[in-house]
Subunit: 512 residues, 2 copies
Amino acid sequence: MKNILGRELPEYIEGFGEVVPFKGAFSNMGIKEKKGVKVSTVSPGENKVLNSIDEALDKAGIKDGMTISFHHHLRNGDYVINMVLDAIAKRGIKDITVAASSIFPVHAPMVDHIKNGVVTGIYANYMSGPVAEAVSRGELKKVAVMQTHGGRPRAIESGELHIDIAFIGAPTADTYGNINGVQGKSACGALGYAVPDAEYADKVIAITDNLVPYPACPIEITQIYVDYVLVVESIGDPNGIVSGTTKITKDPVGLKIAKMTSEVIKASGLVKDGMSFQTGAGGTALAVAAELKEIMKNEGVVGSFAAGGTTAYIVEMLEEGLFRNIFDVQCFDLKAVESYRDNPKHQPMSASMYGNPHNKGAVVNNLDVMILGATEIDVNFNVNVTTSSSGVIMGGSGGHSDTAAGSKLAIVVTNLMKARLPIIKDSVTTVTTPGESIDVIVTERGIAVNPKREDLIEKLKATNLPVMTINELKTMAEKMTGVPKPIELDDKIVAVVEYRDGTIIDVVKKIK
Amino acid sequence: MKNILGRELPEYIEGFGEVVPFKGAFSNMGIKEKKGVKVSTVSPGENKVLNSIDEALDKAGIKDGMTISFHHHLRNGDYVINMVLDAIAKRGIKDITVAASSIFPVHAPMVDHIKNGVVTGIYANYMSGPVAEAVSRGELKKVAVMQTHGGRPRAIESGELHIDIAFIGAPTADTYGNINGVQGKSACGALGYAVPDAEYADKVIAITDNLVPYPACPIEITQIYVDYVLVVESIGDPNGIVSGTTKITKDPVGLKIAKMTSEVIKASGLVKDGMSFQTGAGGTALAVAAELKEIMKNEGVVGSFAAGGTTAYIVEMLEEGLFRNIFDVQCFDLKAVESYRDNPKHQPMSASMYGNPHNKGAVVNNLDVMILGATEIDVNFNVNVTTSSSGVIMGGSGGHSDTAAGSKLAIVVTNLMKARLPIIKDSVTTVTTPGESIDVIVTERGIAVNPKREDLIEKLKATNLPVMTINELKTMAEKMTGVPKPIELDDKIVAVVEYRDGTIIDVVKKIK
């Protein structure tokens, strides 16, 4: 069968189940049910602190076939996933599904566990590095499930993704399981992606390298969700957890794109008091923030909030009074961690509050302007951020689909060509985000507006910006690069791309 | 049948259901299930703000037989319950169950709704005033269910108490339903008792008299739980919401009891670094806090946390460094509200985190010393704080049973006689808190220790405190007052007293 975007899907996938095809960004709404949760009660005098991972695995009742979960707040510095999987493998446990909000190059040892049948399933919102490559080569027994930052909490809350044991890396934990991410040698900032795991897993184990006396202060995830506190030497490498500083690009092309993007934003009429904004941590995305900052300053505009993964640039905008608040689900750099820790205006949000389409309104629903990236874009504005031009998994939606769906103005910023390949194609290798959610594409050589946004096309006509159709943009690129040969992939499906509402927007095939 | 305390209970009560008898404070633990929740999803662009209560009732689908809930953070200044019930009554709706965390004299108009069959059921953790008296006279159609502050979230989370519509008085709300209790003309401080309602009701309506632009800051209950924001002129009378100041007793008897109590605490060996403490807002209870403060200062002790409903005295102890933190579920006075708003060490806790026995460990489980009141105490240390000596409902557990069960040293402080009646009796009119949870009773003329606390009896023997058996204490009082005649009550059951774990510890009979 085909879904509404014309992507070919099987009706059933072994190891995944029935495939419900994507039918449009808001076609699967209405009354939804969050599942019931089993809780093991704790009486006064009981001890939650454990000192060995084997004791923790015993207490949590680890066994073959379980789904275990992890958050990615420790990013490429994370020691927790490898530590837990090694201990599980040593016991001879098999057939584990790893539900990690993201997987990074540091998780390379998981490849051996995949080969040995310890890990046979993966759920992730984003994956890059050796594990992603192993999945692309077809080494994982079941299909991997690629979710979004808002889709993951939806799946967990609805029971679609049932977690047997959540392992929550905790930069600070007290003896009764209250945890925060802002203190300790492994401080990472906000813990938004860990919240659904804590709330819905059968068993929750906080793993910390900074055990503090009761009560921890502040508390991000409370004692009522945590069964055990496992104390270890180290949960991560500080150098990999947060970057020292995130930097604006110095590349003139990136700066040009940022400048043009800021003009699009200005022309859209959204730069006004109460405006809201989100951008990623990439160099061009940050350059857009820098341009927007100047516009807001010049016009004396005070925005309502900036959201998302947070960087020093966004913190500076808060501190300079350009936004009243930040909503933070994760911190990208040290300044963001400090601001989140010290500034009450820098507020937390859980992954569900950030982007879950099936709660009573996520923060993304209130976004005005969203700056997004792309690996490929098709002529219907569908965006791929999941696979590379050679078809290998090298990312995933993260919050891409969530913010695109929620925001009033979703702008993809990208070079028109990358590695001598055009970005705009007739068909993308993988659809991550549907074109209906994308409003504008800004490249250094031209700007394409989604035809459904006639209002915006009119507004941009009044500027000097190089607005053209997406086909014109594609042709321009192809004149320089030639039309690239389509990549050849195996027929075997190695991953499904789950849209935020749980329907399937695409599948990823094995590389040849 | 009789429960473990010998209280006579029917096996089934019409309008309530099967009666599960109380079997001991921690007899009903293990694996418990929190129920699933239905959520109406909200897409971008939808509006949550409503300007008329009728529109809110329409949107929420009010109908005969529903259970609607309220929190009591606006205390005796609350306008919300009366406002909502009046609007419901005007529609001719009948057979409503009101699940309010507490009911106060200000809710007197509810008596007419009870008489007219608009309100036929009540759940409350505490009730005083005309509604409580009407229940005692047998005017409510169904039996009222008296819960505890920890038992209520347990019942809501488990599904035993299903809420169709929660009406949450919100001193501040933004346009998307983020709310806090610390800003606006009706500021009341912490909103801990409203959290389970927000999380588990089918529909949640925030009612505010201070609508602010998105996003509110701080946020205590988030947008993902709130369906609608109803804006009204006023949600309460500031004079009734918080008292200007809570005051230490000036009564010499109360001061003497407080002094003796502090000596008991000292002798117990619990005054040491990391100690935790809770007391109520009554004059004698506050006097105990003042005495304890001096002891802690003299001994250079730094406690871990003070908990509970919070007063200026507890805030001062935090500010003077005598405790590292406060856990706050509700604020009793303006200084507590300000501290909760401004001091990050003054941390929130939901009602569930405070006292629910069926989560993974409530804050009460970590309490060392708890100061409690009593209306009557029997020779087995069972305490009544539900009914007066004439059998009329004039209170309820609130957090009494929860903190008594959780704390290491639960001390009841009381005058030996009140209104020329002895406090200690062979049998109390109503059991609120089981004797097994009470460690010591301190009166101005003598101290009785629960015989199971042999360790404490030994420790107190080394002091000059007037320690005696509870029967000696009873005899001493009766010598002065005579043995009071037992009160006569009707056979009709007007309320059940639900222990925190959902079992029935006693019933309340109709007054004659």
